[in-house]
Amino acid sequence: MIAKAMLLALGFAQLCVLLAMIFCTIRLLRGPTAQDRILALDSLWMAAMLFILLLGIGFSSTVYFEAALIIALIGFVSSVALAKFLMRGEVIE
């Protein structure tokens, strides 16, 4: 009973994160300016990280945690590089 309720809550959270990823994708495809698209891409990275974290809770495995950590790292670096490129026109000056 308790396990079933927790599984239900986990499914609800996964559904919400999946919908959030769909919204970010719509903004990524539709965004009027370049900075909108980069913001949507950064949000999509973070939502994917949350989704993998929830998968890790569901499958009771710690492998998913490392995947989520790597996604967070790469998402940060790529967002910073893209934002720098928007600001200056070059990544490393």
């Binding site: 308790i2 970010c24 900075q35 890790g56 967002s79 910073v80 720098k84 928007l86």
Partner: protein
């Protein structure tokens, strides 16, 4: 025929299950609302607030829930989710600030602003 992989959760005591369920539902709702803000709000300077909410609060909720559940299921304290929490809390403001500055510079360079009434980043007239 191999067994299909299904999600399952071991039953923990109700004193832990109630906070875990609460954190999962709250984090999911906050994530949904933040992404809806990213989709629905009018211009870029408003839209940047939606993801900032769920990147910090939603991640915090899910990570605390994961920490509680792993500690209860594995019968030992599991705290390595704090790594992701610290990393995300450190890096989310950096990304927001860089994106915001690049958006301000681009709008200034283009000479147009999205909302002429309440805009703090307008070029002075003499420039």
């Amino acid at each position: 025929m191999s067994q299909p992989i299904v999600m399952q959760m071991t039953a923990v005591s109700p004193w832990l299950a109630v906070p875990i369920i609460f954190l999962l539902v709250t984090g999911g709702l906050i994530t949904l609302i933040g992404a809806l803000g990213l989709l629905r709000l009018k211009n870029f300077y408003q839209r940047i607030h939606g993801p900032a909410v769920y990147i910090t609060v939603g991640t915090g909720c899910f990570l605390v829930a994961s920490m509680l559940y792993s500690s209860a299921a594995l019968q030992r304290p599991v705290v390595h989710e704090l790594l992701i929490t610290g990393f995300v809390l450190l890096t989310a403001p950096v990304v927001s600030m860089l994106l915001m500055r690049s958006a301000v510079y681009r709008d200034l360079r283009k000479g147009k602003t999205d909302s002429p009434v309440t805009d703090a980043y307008r070029l002075p007239k003499e420039q």
